[in-house]
Symmetry: D2
């Protein structure tokens, strides 16, 4: 497997692939020899120049190159494209030229690939597909909650307000500094249609905002179910999902900062929190209306999904086996 685009998502995907018993990472493509290139070097990942003209920068910086991105694409059985949104679509031609199947990320439009993918919700849809898009961090987070609710109770309608972080911790040129931005201002937002790439028949309206925080997104979720339920029943259902962490009341975790502290304390690589984090105390039911708050670690929740997508594309494992293997090798499940 090769990874093209070694940034926030790419470096995590590379590590995750590297941890799988049934996969081999043959290299990563990077645009510049910055600190991420150095740690990639220390992990022994063969490095390819994503932009050939920039190759000299790598040697100047003392970073060894194994070649250029074309070579990586030619050699790989599958490329996981983790370039910035929009670049992935441009790269598709390169992958086609080499007849190399590829996985794209959620920053790309749905039509970049044959199928949009979430392991919990539609694993089988990616079987034998050549081009698969792992949906965005927000859509992944929503899908993991909707799938079990749909299966257990039936979902009449979803209304979700997505309070999104303005940028990742290292993205210091992104704002806002002191504002709350309806974003997009138009309602319903594009997030709903994105969820429908996974659940085509779902009724869903989403509202997006952007705020001055970097750690996680927080979703304020309302799901009108087809049956009356109790909060306790829903809670038990979600506690049964390995990629959902229901935060117990006594943990003293009241926001994203403490969640990240918890992940770091637990010794997770990069402090990653691959699971949806649902506040147990927040699960509230009013008739058929279910409410909850969940925090989504935008930098890592899609990582296990990329691993499972590879297995689905090559039809090597069934859904449950793949997800369990991924979870076990990465350490997912609290």
């Amino acid at each position: 497997m090769g990874v093209n685009g070694y940034g926030t998502i790419g470096k995590r995907v590379a590590d995750a692939i590297n941890a799988q018993p049934d996969m081999e990472l043959i290299g990563v493509a990077k645009t510049q020899p910055n600190f991420e290139a150095h740690t990639a070097g220390e992990r022994g990942y063969p490095m390819y120049a994503a932009i050939p003209e920039r190759s000299p920068l790598f040697s100047e910086a003392g970073v060894d190159l194994a070649g250029e991105v074309d070579e990586l694409v030619a050699k790989a059985d599958v490329i996981v494209d983790c370039t910035p949104s929009g670049i992935g679509a441009e790269n598709r031609e390169l992958y086609e030229t080499h007849h190399t199947p590829a996985i794209f990320q959620g920053g790309e439009d749905a039509d970049v690939a044959d199928v949009s993918f979430n392991a919990r919700a539609n694993f089988d849809a990616a079987r034998d597909a050549d081009y698969v898009r792992v949906v965005s961090c927000n859509t992944t987070g929503l899908s993991r909650i909707i799938a079990p609710l749909e299966a257990e109770y039936g979902v009449e309608k979803v209304r979700a307000t997505l309070v999104r972080r303005g940028g990742d911790p290292g993205q210091n040129s992104r704002g806002p500094i002191n504002d709350i931005l309806p974003n997009p201002i138009k309602i319903p937002s594009h997030h709903g249609p994105d969820v429908k790439t996974i659940f085509p028949d779902l009724e869903i309206d989403t509202l997006g905002l952007k705020v001055p925080a970097t750690l996680m997104h927080v979703h304020a979720l309302n799901v009108t179910l087809e049956d009356d339920v109790t909060g306790a029943h829903v809670r038990q259902l979600l506690e049964g999902e390995n990629r959902v962490y229901v935060i117990p009341e006594g943990m003293g975790i009241d926001g994203a900062g403490k969640l990240m502290d918890f992940a770091l304390d637990a010794g997770r690589p990069r402090g990653d929190m691959w699971e949806n984090c649902v506040w147990g105390e927040s699960i509230g039911v009013n008739g058929r209306d279910l409410y909850l708050f969940q925090a989504i670690h935008q930098q890592s929740d899609v990582i296990p999904e990329n691993v499972d997508a590879i297995r689905a594309m090559f039809d090597v494992e069934d859904q449950q086996t793949s997800m369990e293997l991924t979870d076990q090798t990465l350490g997912i499940g609290i």
Copy 2:
């Protein structure tokens, strides 16, 4: 009229009363001679010591005192209590002792007063009441939207996510710095029941969050109406409300920062934005489900309500006359 507690809300209430042709401000009570005391002095407001033992601090700071808070309460026909939440309830005894009617703010529990008040929604409920509570900035903001929707279409259910500012601009010890906090974590939040002090029969579920911003709250609002509507019709309805500003698309206003710039440019005192600010572009309808984003200037939206509450208590004007007079004297309506 007297104002007890001359902080963020109190100083604005004092100015608003001072601007009314049918009201006279006889003094304000303050706990300490800080910068707000200085500007009160420049405006010629007689100042009373809220905490008698601290009187000497005022003279040391060169701020003249007209007396102590007891005297102000004794002299006033009505006191507007603008002390921090919780102190108002403690003060009620003082007002009762002097048989002085009083208005409390939304930081107090509903039972501090005989009635909770919003000028647009339940003006007449405060007629002849001795103790009235002007509801909080968030409840005021919700009430102004719900009232016309209820009257025009009927409201089946309200679901509101309140993305609240962490503190006012001058409150530099409040956080969070970099977090998104479900607050309260429990859903539905206490905000819904507070709205029901104004609309007792309303179905409403609210979700609260706190984020690192100081300028305005932003509400992500869903109202399931009793009839099918169009976005255009709702927009026209809201444009007809003088205390609601429907932001036109071409203004280039995409958040609270630019809204505050707009208010400052328009020459408003303290840059106050007394109106709910609804993004026109955000008004979206899906069947009977209406959605919109609105920004609420927490420091000022309750000010006209305090003025109207006085007129309601003394039964001197009807709702429409009072609201129009308030709006005209303060400059409300864009």
Copy 3:
């Protein structure tokens, strides 16, 4: 006078010119009909299209145009260029073509003009100049402190750490959200040389940082004087400067948020704080080493300087008369 570029600085310059008894504002040039255009319209400022192709946007938005920027330049005796940094330099040719003198802002390089200007420090240097650059908000703030210190005690060396706001309140796309950025990383920073355009012989080393705040810059200033002084003497000296506000201890003002509240309470247009705000309590002396903290309102401190620059260029008043007239008409001096 005409103003080209009607944004944060331009709209304030326009108002300031409009308030002068000896100046007439004949128009402002804007690129788009956003909310700032609307308030300009309400103030009765004739509006010119800065970018001719965009003229239709104005009429579509119902904003009347008086013409295009060329006409404004041709008509005006002087243009104050308040376009974004870099655009001013491009505009110089336009002004030369029409033989219209111009004032540029501090975002331009020093060589855009014949002289860099600060009213307190080098008023006479701009006499009869055709092209003058009013130095940046930070350099203006430093110059106002250095000038009296230099005159009174002599300055051996200045070391200044500039903790700069990341963006203005309305600039919601600027960061950082949660970071402290050495910026520029290189020391000494370019700010020192900029101060030297005003004080050519000064020894000054500056260090710049950028932080997630929008209200004001804060300078941590060290000046090694040529004589031993006392803090009290320096304080008295600065209290004598009309464009410096020495914050008294008892005001309870401990940061930029409360300073802005104070300006808004005082009824200042747009809450502007044209004066350097020096914390009286911070003025500390250790031998010949003077230290102080000052807050600089980046949006407004250069405004009076632009007004004085016009008088200097046309040689109509001497320094003291001009500065006093500006201060009196705008309301500067606390």
Copy 4:
């Protein structure tokens, strides 16, 4: 060894002690069974109730207790007190009662202990002391730079502006949200005298500020040396210090966010950055005046110092041996 107070510092000290070949961690004392108690449990640290009355809370939460804090103090050869500032001083009596030597943290006043400690600067001062205070994160950061400069060139005077983070990532109730606070307003600040507990004869003036960021402090440092130097020479000197990381220009690290990303990528526990991070590009020299920017990870830079303090108190290793052992076991040095 026992650790009393298992929060930000305490949990790191416990892990660091646990990693030493010549030390044994016999338990940690905690006040409540929150998420940190859970991870302590997973690491197998015996847990003691810091506040006896709260013991039942632990059993209710399913956390096993080994006893109460008195027992831990009685058993331990040394206690590292990591309670919130002020509590340490109160605890001293407890340690004296049991004749247990103790280490305090920098939040305590200097007189809580016999000696203030920094491994690089005054290791030997702690030999055989019963009560030692490891100085604060800021003082530790300054000491590590001053010690080699003093030894190599002699230091005439230090002027340091400390741009401090408002709170740690999990401390979501701390501000400011959008402000730059001179803090303390008084100059010189108390930080200078704190540095003098390590370097009694040093000339140092410090200025402190607080800003809305959580990741690291940033110091803008000026050191007037006794000799003329070159930037290259200073850089080489600092590159020779194992607890100082001189950030190379090509790494693309321009702030605290990317530094933290780098630490996380490198696989460091909790993403800790024990070293001072000095931007190589920032090292600037003007005559005898040296300038530089450094970032200090407040949560972790004092951790190795606590380990070394233990060895110094028990006189088991000399300075160099202890520091090398600490660095090697923790993984310090980039």
